[in-house]
């Protein structure tokens, strides 16, 4: 049946039809919907794992047991899962193992713009790169076939524009292959030096066989048109090239970006007058072509950073683009902000008032760095807040201990904050760690995690108690506060910063966007009392603005959290 499908949903459909039985992932934009959609099929066991390394190891275990398995993650997640990836390249698989990694060129929702193709090359694992939803669907099935034929995990590389675009997919039926019984094979699966040494030549030989496969397989295809220009491209860049050139250029569309074919490229190059490479981010196809001795246009004109588009491809390859109309005045920007009633806001306001140095982490609360709160100093990667406050305090001692905090969300804490906390407990820095517990994985769109008590399907599941966990790790000082209560937040923060031992503050209130969270009535401004002092504006709440010198509350946005009311000395804000 023909349907309009999100790339991620199409990939999930491909997993389903390929008979995939086990899915374990950690959410991350733009990869999250693959697993959310897979979870809608009762035939697939799906779960959110605490992090990507765990997810990949779960999927590996399932494939070892003889059933097709999958795990999905965003580009930076593959850094976390790189450890199992590099060695399961050596062990190979039993039933098929497919890994999806979603890159985010343009950094719509990421902290860097790394190109995951490097991971495929470095781990010597084949990588398929779909260019639309239909290919995401078909490549998911193909990936399992390649995985089993070549005894290798296979990576499917998505990008934001493939993952989050809908295009037409013609779906089929689910076919479950027979279970491949698990057989003990120490030489293949126990990667100690004596065995791994023997597996490495297998990996090199496998790459040679995969390269030979890529020379003729349909996954790489030539579309001959005008031969004055030949373009080698892949992923969404292929779509931009087709949009601009149609059949006015010849195209070699690469579907398997690792390993890259040689003869196919040389033959294509021989048929065209000039050769251009169009690939987002790094110059991987281009470098390969140069190694083959080909003269190409690539990153000499195309950027290494950001997303491409049809106009960019046109301009760089000498095709004119339409004129545009524009306003002369500069318009105010509209950066993302914490939602009205966001429980993080009160806590960040308290940190700002106390002039804290704030080592931040990855999540909605990274928006605490945005004006007017500007209450974050660093954001690096998942879990880094806790590990780096320990280093910061070890370096500076008393000078920093009394005014420095780490902030981390509940899901991020489970992902990789716990190990950093173990380090503080073990090596004893006088650090103050704040867990922003909004009882959900917020930024990626409300996924459950080990602290929420529910699984991916919303059914009751195990629930890790953060207070007990921190105490068990050796923290004597664990305090829970309500971030809507500014006075209490201030009192507890001051108390824990002054304490002479490591401490944890749990700032607990569920995300205001959760369906079960009841909203209060919007606040009202008493215009006779409001003097226009703008104290309430210091919160950076999108519900509050100033009109004609008085505060105005947008009743369609305000959820009545009452935090602003606590800042008004004139009693002008009323519940």
């Amino acid at each position: 049946m023909k349907q309009l499908m999100l790339g991620n949903k199409a990939l999930a459909r491909g997993l389903y039809e390929a008979g995939c039985c086990v899915v374990s992932s950690y959410p991350g934009t733009p990869s999250t919907e693959v697993t959310e959609e897979a979870a809608k099929y009762d035939e697939i066991y799906c779960e959110w794992a605490p992090n990507e390394k765990v997810a990949m190891e779960v999927a590996f275990g399932a494939c070892l047991a003889g059933k097709r398995a999958f795990c999905g993650m965003k580009h930076v997640g593959l850094n976390v899962a790189a450890d199992p990836l590099f060695t399961c390249s050596y062990t190979g698989v039993n039933a098929g193992l497919v890994i999806c990694v979603a890159d985010d060129a343009g950094m719509h929702s990421s902290q860097n713009e790394q190109d995951s193709r490097h991971h495929a090359i470095a781990s010597k694992v084949p990588m398929l790169e779909p260019a639309d939803s239909d290919e995401a669907y078909r490549f998911a099935k193909l990936a399992f076939a390649i995985s089993e034929e070549f005894d290798t995990p296979v990576i499917i590389k998505m990008c934001t524009r493939v993952a989050h675009s809908q295009s037409v997919v013609d779906t089929g039926e689910r076919v479950v292959p027979e279970i491949k019984p698990y057989e003990k094979n120490i030489a293949k699966y126990v990667m100690m030096p004596g065995n791994a040494i023997k597996r490495h030549p297998f990996v090199e030989e496998r790459t040679r066989r995969l390269m030979a496969y890529g020379e003729t397989a349909e996954v790489n295809r030539t579309e001959m048109g005008d031969t004055s220009l030949g373009i080698i491209t892949s992923s969404t860049s292929y779509q931009y090239v087709k949009e601009v050139f149609g059949d006015k250029a010849s195209i070699l569309k690469i579907g398997m970006v690792n390993p890259l074919p040689r003869q196919l490229i040389l033959d294509f190059a021989a048929r065209v007058d000039k050769l251009a490479i169009v690939e987002e981010l790094d110059s991987i196809i281009e470098n390969h072509c140069r190694q083959l001795g080909l003269e190409v246009t690539g990153k000499d004109v195309f950027p290494m950073e950001g997303e491409y588009s049809q106009n960019l491809v046109a301009e760089k390859l000498g095709v004119s683009v339409s004129p545009v109309k524009s306003l002369e005045e500069a318009l105010p920007g509209r950066p993302p902000v914490m939602c009205s009633g966001c429980p993080h806001r009160g806590l960040f306001y308290t940190l700002k008032q106390n002039k804290c140095t704030v080592l931040g982490d990855i999540g909605c609360y990274t928006l605490g760095a945005v004006a007017p709160l500007s209450a974050m100093d660093v954001t690096l990667c998942m879990g880094a807040s806790i590990s780096s406050i320990h280093g910061f305090n070890k370096a500076l001692g008393k000078e920093s201990e009394g005014k420095t905090v780490a902030v981390i969300g509940d899901s991020t804490f489970m992902h990789s904050g716990m190990t950093g906390l173990a380090n503080i407990a073990y090596n004893q820095s006088n650090s103050t760690v704040i867990i922003l517990d909004n009882s959900i994985t917020g930024m990626t769109g409300h996924q459950q995690n080990p602290t929420t008590g529910y699984n991916i399907k919303g059914d009751p599941a195990g629930k890790i108690n953060l207070e007990e966990l921190c105490r068990a790790m050796g923290f004597n000082r664990v305090t829970v506060v309500d971030p809507y209560d500014l006075a209490e937040c201030d009192r507890v923060l001051k108390q824990e910063l002054a304490a002479e031992e490591p401490s944890v503050i749990i700032s607990r209130r569920p995300c205001v966007l959760l369906k079960y969270v009841k909203h209060e009535k919007p606040l009202k401004v008493d215009c006779d009392k409001c003097v226009g002092c703008k104290s309430c504006m210091r919160l950076g709440c999108p519900s509050i603005s100033i009109r004609d010198g008085k505060a105005v509350i947008d009743s369609t946005l305000c959820v009545g959290c009452g935090v602003c009311k606590q800042l008004c000395k004139f009693g002008a804000l009323e519940s």
Binding site: Q166, P336, M443
Partner: protein, 191 residues
Amino acid sequence: MTKNIMIVGVGGQGSLLASKLLGHLLLTEGYDVKVSEVHGMSQRGGSVVTYVRFGEKVYSPIIDRGQADYIVSFEKLEAARYVEYLKPDGRIVTNTQEIDPMPVITGAAQYPTDLVDKLEKLGIAVDAMDCLALAEQAGSPKAVNIVLMGRLSKYFDIPVEKWEKAIEDCVPAKFLELNKKAFALGRDYAA
């Protein structure tokens, strides 16, 4: 020939339902369709863009500068922000609602004045109306998206019944009447 509709607004205003509706309608009309959305960080009250493209064969999932036949905007400033994406003879359909962005809230910038006039002075056809008021009249401020779809439908040769069928297929049954009313209010609004 590929036609391009850009849906712009502020994160959380409901643009995903509008693009779902359009995608569904255009696919049943027999077109090749691509819809490109934004998820994640930028959704949190930021400026959001959805691209809808349809025609015999659509390649790129995005719309570039100078290519949009229509910009459908949930908020006035956002209509102005993306004007460079409009074709020289393109049309803007916009809600006149103003939502202050953070730089305006903090006082670092002013909300620009007379935006519709300024856009019209560039020779652009602007169809502007208070969609929030019309949505509230239909029964819910959340129906702004369907009010806008009603307005957009005026410019297409697709019968009203087919739009209504698409609404039926895309919204929960209990909100169907409300949404049909919102659609009609947008379509029939007289300035």
